[in-house]
Amino acid sequence: MRKLWLALGLIIGLGGAGLLVSSGPTIAGFYADMVLNSKAEKRGMPPVVFPHWLHRIEFKCKVCHPAIFEMRSGSNDIDMSKIISGQFCGKCHNGTISWKPVQCARCHSGQPGLTTGPLLGVK
């Protein structure tokens, strides 16, 4: 009888713990989103979130890698003056291929504190 209770308690406890772990924190985002935050937050802007899924519907990887971006997180020295003068994101976000970089929140959409690299915590 004592063992039964113990087993019951353990099963419920482990089940509950399992549920907690499996439902872990999720944040808005999608698999393969990249955070770029080497300078943005230091200079007072929220981190940039780059959605791979949306861009790869439109472009093959070879369009961007390695011609526009080095294929390694944080190895591209990007800043706004380069983007506005047509480098990096500005190769496309210049009003011809896609929208101009005027609406900051479209790119600077990450929560403060995110670190450069794949966006963690998404499914």
């Binding site: 113990l6 019951l8 308690g9 509950g16 439902s23 808005a28 999608f30 519907i57 291929i97 609406q103």
Partner: protein
């Protein structure tokens, strides 16, 4: 009788965990980003990928988007308009784990990604060449298919910086892959995740 405190302690701990989990689940469902439909409840969901595919070439001003002088809302703009992956990629094929199967997506003509920003550049045909990579131990062997890789990527993305262009010349191991070397440079970050063993380990040993 002596053991009673232990027994009830374990049961109470279990119940508390359950309640905690329940509460957690509630907040979890509430903080999920609202579906795109929530913003315009009356309008039907937009056609799949239509807003994206129509953008290349035709300039989009984005004036309809939001006031650039206001502070950005935290979180990617997915819940806004039709920037929600769950709406845009609603009809995309998924693999056994529920991730988007981008190989099936292009084979089924669901995505037509551009080859280059120069629309006059002729496309390079993908390279149809499979390489069997033997796996140590009981796991089925890996077939590395050049075809889907060279559809998306150039030879220069992999050769020679990630893989030497010679069969068996690369010291690949599963530990290195999980640590982000070799196949793990892309798989687990952008291409399908490493947890899906059976998409790579396809060829059973005799």
């Amino acid at each position: 009788m002596r053991r009673r405190p232990l027994r009830s302690a374990v049961t109470i701990a279990g119940l508390m965990l359950l309640i905690g989990a329940g509460l957690y689940a509630c907040t979890f469902f509430q903080t999920k980003p609202p579906a795109a439909g929530n913003q315009k409840p009356a309008s039907p969901p937009p056609a799949v990928a239509a807003p994206v595919t129509s953008s290349v070439g035709g300039a989009q001003t984005g004036d309809d988007y939001e006031d650039p002088t206001t502070l950005p809302e935290p979180g990617p703009p997915y819940a806004k308009e039709n920037r929600d992956p769950n709406v845009i990629m609603k009809n995309f094929p998924v693999d056994s784990e529920g991730n988007i199967d981008w190989v099936k997506a292009f084979k089924d003509n669901i995505v037509h990604p551009h080859e280059s920003l120069d629309l006059n550049k002729p496309p390079t045909p993908p390279f149809n060449f499979d390489i069997e990579i033997p796996a140590v131990g009981a796991m089925p062997n890996v077939i590395f298919p050049h075809f889907p890789h060279t559809y998306w990527l150039d030879c220069g993305n992999c050769h020679p910086s990630i893989f030497v262009m010679k069969r068996g010349a690369n010291p690949i191991s599963m530990v290195k892959i999980v640590n982000g070397e070799f196949c793990g440079r892309c798989h687990g970050r952008v291409a399908f995740p490493i947890s899906n063993c059976t998409r790579c380990h396809v060829k059973p040993k005799q």
